[in-house]
Symmetry: C2
Subunit: 174 residues, 2 copies
DNA sequence: TAGTGCATGTAATGCGTTACATGATTTC
DNA sequence: GAAATCATGTAACGCATTACATGCACTA
């Protein structure tokens, strides 16, 4: 089984409870999407591959005339997931168009360049609002789910302050 | 001209001085790579497209028997770059395998789960060392180039402290 | 003279999104 | 009965990396 990015997201999520492809997409969007997105075009083919490999098992769970296929983790899948969890790789890939603009902002008049810093701050604000909106108040999450959620909030708050600091610094030094 | 991700990186970099494809790859790796990577497979075809569109102009600059083609920004290219710089979009795409692991770490025994936090901290440390290594001490950078470099450093330092804080918090609450 | 760096490029492959097609069920 | 939601899936496309091929020039 050739594991790829989306493999672990799926295994990890259906470990909590059996899910359909549709469920998975929603779970991804509600939880890990801000640092790891996944689309139907990845999820459905990956479910096939995972079932072929014996890491998950699908069962028909039609709801009246509405077809539905629920997948659950097999023992082999559980082992694979735990193996991956023990990995300690930490390469992080960032793609941040706002930083790219900022990097070239010296080509703009100073006031407009500072505007890009303000725009970045606004981006963090919107992300923060989005993350706060995810909190549906349904009781306490497991500790590490909570840690990752906090990371999102803390990261945005840090980013907002960072933009403020830099704007002040640049205004003073000019 | 259908502009894509790599378009702006190239235009922005050759705005500073004319460059070859090879130069561009090196410039990308030395400056923006930690938040916006680009490979030869993107750069060379994109140079063609940009020249066809009239945003850059290539000139032969062979070095003895070693062929070399230097590209410079045209007026049209300068205008296109500045238009893009005025944009205020700020969607940031993150892909962070370490956060994904952390999110599922509740499946591990507590001590091992905490190990993932330590591993993340180590990742920030390595990135920080990498960024510090980029500073070749060649005098002051333009203000916004410097701002983005600082962002990298500050972000790593924040990340290290964040991991520390979370580790302490989780150890206390358990 | 062997290794490294300069320099250009392409082909194969993989990753991921978008847009579309289809149809049932629930809710207003 | 219209609209939203549940549910599955694929085809086309675009973005990006990796690996390879080629050859010159410098330096140890």
């Amino acid at each position: 089984m050739e594991a790829s990015a989306v493999t672990w997201a799926i295994l990890g999520l259906i470990r909590q409870r059996p899910m359909s492809g549709y469920d998975l997409k929603r779970a991804v969007d509600r939880t890990i999407r801000h640092f790891w997105a996944a689309s139907y075009g990845q999820i459905y083919p990956e479910l096939r591959r995972l079932e072929d490999a014996g890491w998950i098992e699908g069962a028909d769970a039609a709801n009246g005339g509405r077809s539905r296929r629920l997948y659950r983790l097999t023992d082999a899948g559980r082992v694979a997931l735990e193996d991956w969890l023990h990995g300690h790789e930490t390469r992080l890939e960032l793609r941040d168009e706002s930083l790219l603009r900022l990097f070239f902002a010296d080509a703009l008049p100073p006031e407009e360049a500072l505007g890009l810093l303000a725009a970045r701050r606004e981006g963090y604000r919107m992300m923060l609002a989005y993350l706060r909106g995810l909190d549906d108040g349904t009781g306490p999450d497991p500790p590490f789910v909570d840690v990752v959620y906090r990371w999102g909030l803390d990261h945005c708050e840090w980013g907002i302050e960072w933009c403020d600091r830099q704007e002040r610094r640049l205004r003073q030094s000019s």
